[in-house]
């Protein structure tokens, strides 16, 4: 009777739009089930996971092509439906597909460089694999969502998986501490984020990002306190995920305590998801408040670069160093956001580049951590240039790439965000940022110094060929795309949000 009264408007279902996520989710479930049923060697499961990622990637490529087609099509309600399926909960646009590319790549690389960890985990390796796949799907959803609750769900799927991964080895104080800290602070940040969602909902009556944008552009809000507080909470919740100062305090502890094999993935995935969401929130939903939030984002960026840089200078552990450097990178990337939607291309390029470097760098850290049974003080990299020349060279390239040395992708990325910010009139931020880059060199070079100019650490390293190769590939990519960045830049240039 009631069904008759309320004709259900079935939302448009686009299987393609969520095909990668379906593959990931099914793949994860499959990994768990196969493990329970057949107890296969972890290597098989790893192969399976790799296959899942590859398949998801293939679907993403298909998506990209489809998006091109749709955007060049004449338009009409069907096209809109296909671009915004599922009741406009998610969007199929270049940005979301690009996020999938990056996240899937990062997941694949992360598995490869951290493979030792998964082997070490034994039976629990399967769960870890599944969690990596699920986390990936969560962040891809987060990047694709055009609905704040959807975004929150994606965020939680990804984050909760990461909390678990942080504590997955259970092999000591550090891991526990990392897990509980990440979990508690992460939950608080999530709660703040979702409170922001509620406040924005209250102020605009919209949970949909596009709806909110339409509402804001058409309405003059006389007393916007609720809206602004909601925006603040959204920004802060996401700033936590990307570890921007002053919401970064979890990052060093978690990076240091979590198992080295997954930290790269954790760090990169959370950043990508966070920035993707930030782009949607700031650029898509709140372009009308650009004048309000741009200085705010600039301030967070500045604080991140300064505080992260200064604290990174005095770190003794490479993982903490990379964590603080991650804080500075959050600042650099935020620099590219102050301009509004046009800056998204530069942000995406930066994310692309940085994610690969980060995962590669943590791959090296994982190798060293494997030899030192956990801690990775800078001294443990001593003489790596002699002990593992290729590994050291790759690490050097990656570090210098993160530092933004010309001829690496890092430089192109920095240049991109800087020029964008300059264009937007944030000259002071750019000047601060270039100076912060120099500080960046100061701490990256400390590791390089250890590798090439100091005494050997006695620990014997046994990097797997797989991780060695992947790290080298990351380094090569850093240089090759640093010389010829045009393909990636063009890729990223598509990703300007609707």
């Amino acid at each position: 009777m009631i069904l008759a009264q309320v004709p259900l408007a079935t939302p448009y279902v686009s299987w393609l739009a969520i095909a990668p996520e379906i593959v990931l989710a099914v793949g994860a479930a499959f990994v768990l089930l196969v493990e329970v049923q057949f107890l296969p060697p972890i290597k098989r499961l790893g192969g399976l996971a790799a296959g899942v990622l590859a398949l998801a990637f293939a679907f993403s490529v298909w998506q990209w092509i489809r998006v091109d087609e749709l955007l060049s099509a004449a338009g009409g309600p069907d096209v809109v439906n296909q671009l915004l399926p599922f009741g406009q909960m998610i969007v199929l646009d270049h940005g979301s597909v690009l996020a999938r590319f990056i996240l899937l790549t990062v997941a694949g690389l992360g598995l490869a460089v951290g493979w030792q960890l998964f082997e070490r985990l034994g039976r629990r390796g399967a769960e870890a694999l599944a969690l990596v796949l699920l986390a990936t799907s969560g962040f891809t959803l987060m990047a694709a969502s055009t609905h704040l609750m959807m975004m929150f769900l994606g965020l939680e799927v990804g984050s909760i998986a990461l909390y678990i991964l942080a504590g997955i080895t259970r092999d000591g104080a550090a891991s526990d501490e990392a897990a509980i800290k990440y979990f508690l602070l992460g939950s608080v940040a999530s709660a703040v984020f979702v409170y922001g969602v509620a406040l924005v909902f209250a102020a605009t009556g919209e949970l949909n990002i596009l709806g909110a944008r339409a509402f804001l552009s058409g309405t003059v809000i006389t007393r916007p306190a609720v809206l602004l507080i909601g925006l603040a909470m959204l920004v802060v919740g996401l700033a936590f995920k990307i570890s921007a100062a002053p919401f970064h305090s979890w990052a060093p502890d978690v990076y240091q305590g979590a198992p080295a094999g997954v930290v790269g993935f954790m760090a990169a995935a959370a950043k990508i998801g966070g920035f993707a969401a930030l782009i949607r929130v700031l650029h898509t939903a709140f372009p009308s408040l650009l004048d309000e939030w741009a200085p705010l984002v600039a301030g967070i960026a500045a604080l991140s670069m300064v505080l992260g840089g200064i604290l990174a200078l005095v770190q003794d552990d490479v993982r903490r160093l990379l964590a603080y450097s991650g804080v500075t990178h959050a600042g650099f990337i935020l620099t590219g956001m102050v301009v509004g939607g046009a800056g998204a291309a530069d942000v995406w390029f930066y994310l692309m580049v940085y994610a690969v470097q980060l995962v590669g760098a943590f791959g090296v850290v994982a190798v060293v951590a494997g030899a030192t049974k956990g801690p990775t003080p800078i001294a443990s990299f001593g003489g790596l240039g002699r002990r593992q020349p290729m590994l050291a060279l790759s690490f050097t390239v990656l570090l210098l790439g993160m530092g933004g040395l010309p001829l690496t992708t890092g430089f192109v990325a920095k240049f991109g965000v800087f020029q964008t910010a300059w264009q937007a009139g944030f000259e002071w931020l750019v000047i601060l940022a270039v100076l912060a880059s120099v500080v960046g060199f100061a701490f990256y070079l400390r590791v390089v110094v250890a590798m090439y100019m100091q005494d050997d650490d006695p620990a014997v390293l046994q990097p797997r060929r797989l991780s060695r190769t992947v790290i080298a590939v990351a380094a090569v990519a850093t240089v090759v795309f640093g010389l010829l960045p045009a393909p990636l830049l063009e890729l990223a240039a598509n990703a300007i949000p609707l």
């Binding site: 002053p246 705010l296 100061a442």
Partner: protein, 632 residues
């Protein structure tokens, strides 16, 4: 042969000699290397003489400029040669005296392990000096000017294992550089006024371009340079030390040729000085003062070469006096005769030293005339020449200078008197030298067997003695040969002359000859007596004599007032400013960063609730920002 081919070869010949000896000297060996070098400079002399014939004949009056190749066109500097009577005369002096000294050196340097290298340097010096005098622009003149300085450096420190020799070479170069500083600034002024450094461009237009002020500035700056090279007050201190070099070097460089470069430059720049009487007067004053100052030092020296060194300084002062007053011909004339007799004196001294087994202290000599007759006689001739004994070369040239000073009147009269006193002192100390070395009884130690030098050394002495006697005859008041010869080089310049009339000449000559004779008499009278007598004479002067003997302690003064404080400043800057302050600031920036980082670490306490507080604080900041500054 064409002059344009001939004259460049004047430089090329010794240069080729130097290059050849540099690479093959050791292989050629002794004494052939010396003869080869002599041949090179001899060739130069011959070429110069051939090239000068035109001037003697009165043809090609204006001389010619030969451009070889461009050097620094932006400042109008090419490798170009100015071939006019002045440069021709200088060429002949340099190569002529140089050839003789080369010959002498073959004997003097016999047995030295770096025999060939010595002649390399000598030839290189000749080439450099010829570059200086043949230069067609100031830049190239400066090239030669510096290269002779280099050779001087190399030759003074030829016996580099002797620390004093090495130090002396360095001192010579550095003091010269100080003079060069002035010279360079002068060149800057020249360029800024003329837009070129070419002699043609500068000297022909000096009158129309330069104001008196500019001309004075340039003249004074040139004087600084000249004072360095020609060892005038206050930059003369290097020359006495330069005696550390082998004696032929002292003869060639530090008596006959290089040190006269300053005089040459002033003469060459006559057009500029003509616009700046004050600068000229400064030159003359410096010259006269130096002449007296150095002479007073010379009288108290016991080292034979030191006496000659101060004598050189003093004589150069005469030349400055002359050219400063516009008596260019007189100056150049004295330059030439001085080259003859001072080279002779040095070579003679070298002969003595050679014969006395490297003894230089005159108090340990005496009575050498018996053992070294040729040396004694030739040196005697030179002594008389420098003392202004009538009809010898020094008489003519020095008298001309004094006469010019007398004729100039005014303040120059004072300079004239100074010159006269100096003439007397000159006669005194030269006689003293001769008598102490050759006269009286012997005072040398047992085991020394003085002997006359070999023919190869005495022959140049004889030739120079002849020149010292007769060289003055080319420019007597009765026959102004040199003046006519040089006239084309001083076109448009009013040259200062002695007073007209034979009577005047005789009067002035009588005065100066009188002064000379007094000096000779005193010197001869006192120093032919036993040692106690002249010691008593010397102590009669008390402290004054000591002051003279110690050369007025100028070296100490410079050391205390310039060298030591300079070094203190340098050390202070290097170790108290550069390292701690400037570098300290740089490192301080780094330290501030690290320190800030280290202090900031405490905010990362490791406690979750503390992190939460930071988070909340940030959140509140963001909210407050949006509610106030940023938004509504």
């Amino acid at each position: 042969m064409n002059v344009e081919v001939l004259v460049p070869l004047v430089i090329v010949a010794p240069l080729l000699g130097a290059v050849l000896l540099h690479f093959l000297g050791r292989w050629i060996g002794e004494p052939l290397a010396g003869w080869a070098a002599t041949a090179a400079i001899g060739t130069s002399f011959a070429l110069g003489a051939v090239g000068a014939i035109d001037f003697l004949r009165g043809m090609a009056e204006h001389g010619s400029t030969i451009v070889l190749w461009e050097w620094m066109p932006a400042i109008g500097a090419s490798f170009e040669i100015q071939w006019d009577p002045l440069s021709a005369l200088m060429t002949l002096i340099v190569t002529g005296v140089g050839t003789l000294i080369h010959v002498f050196a073959i004997g003097y340097m016999a047995g030295d392990e770096r025999f060939a290298r010595f002649f390399t340097y000598l030839n290189l010096f000749a080439a450099s000096m010829l570059t200086l005098v043949l230069a067609g622009n100031f830049a190239m003149l400066f090239l030669g000017w510096e290269l002779v300085g280099l050779c001087s450096y190399l030759l003074i420190s030829f016996w580099y294992t002797k620390p004093s020799a090495a130090a002396a070479g360095k001192k010579a170069f550095i003091v010269n550089r100080i003079g060069d500083f002035g010279f360079m600034v002068g060149l800057m002024l020249v360029f800024v006024h003329f837009g070129t450094l070419s002699f043609d461009g500068v000297l022909d237009r000096a009158g129309e371009v330069l104001s008196t002020g500019s001309a004075t500035a340039i003249g004074l700056l040139f004087l600084v340079g000249a004072a360095g090279k020609s060892a005038q007050i206050p930059l003369y201190v290097w020359l006495p030390d330069a005696m550390e070099g082998p004696t032929p070097v002292s003869a060639l460089i530090h008596a006959a040729t290089m040190v006269t470069a300053g005089v040459y430059v002033v003469a060459r720049s006559a057009a500029i000085f003509q616009e700046a009487p004050a600068a000229g007067m400064a030159v003359a004053t410096i010259g006269a003062t130096t002449a007296l100052w150095a002479a007073s030092i010379a009288i108290a020296q016991t080292d034979i070469k030191k006496v000659l060194a101060y004598s050189t300084v003093s004589q150069l002062g005469y030349m400055f006096l002359a050219v400063g007053l516009g008596g260019y011909v007189a100056g150049i004339f004295h330059l030439m005769t001085h080259a003859f007799f001072k080279a002779l004196l040095f070579l003679g001294a070298g002969s003595v030293i050679h014969g006395m087994a490297d003894e230089q202290d005159m108090t340990k000599m005496g009575g050498l005339a018996r053992h070294m007759p040729v040396t004694a006689v030739t040196m005697g001739v030179a002594t008389l020449a420098i003392a202004g004994f009538p009809l010898l070369s020094g008489f003519w040239s020095k008298d001309e200078i004094l006469a010019v000073a007398f004729a100039a009147g005014g303040f120059a009269s004072v300079l004239y008197v100074i010159g006269l006193v100096t003439a007397m002192l000159t006669a005194f100390y030269m006689t003293r030298l001769w008598v102490m070395v050759f006269g009286g009884g012997s005072r040398w130690d047992d085991g020394i067997h003085p002997h006359e030098s070999p023919r190869v050394m005495t022959a140049p002495l004889v030739v120079l003695a002849v020149l010292s006697v007769g060289g003055g005859l080319i420019n007597t008041p009765f026959r102004l040969g040199l003046e006519h010869f040089l006239e084309p080089a001083f076109e448009g310049i009013s040259i200062a002359h002695p007073p007209e009339g034979i009577g005047m000449f005789l009067l002035l000559a009588a005065i100066s000859v009188g002064a000379g004779l007094v000096g000779i008499a005193m010197g001869g009278f006192i120093y032919s007596r036993p040692r106690e007598v002249w010691m008593r004479f010397q102590t009669g002067f008390g402290r004054l004599w000591e002051l003279w003997a110690s050369a007025y302690r100028v070296d100490d003064l410079y050391g205390a007032s310039l060298v030591v404080p300079g070094r203190k400043v340098s050390e202070a800057l290097a170790f108290r400013v550069d390292l701690p302050v400037i570098d300290g600031l740089v490192n301080g920036v780094g330290r501030v960063f690290k320190e800030t980082g280290a202090r900031s670490r405490v905010i990362q306490t490791g406690y979750v609730r503390n992190y939460g507080a930071a988070f909340v604080a940030g959140l509140l900041l963001v909210i407050i920002w949006l509610l106030t500054v940023g938004g509504a």
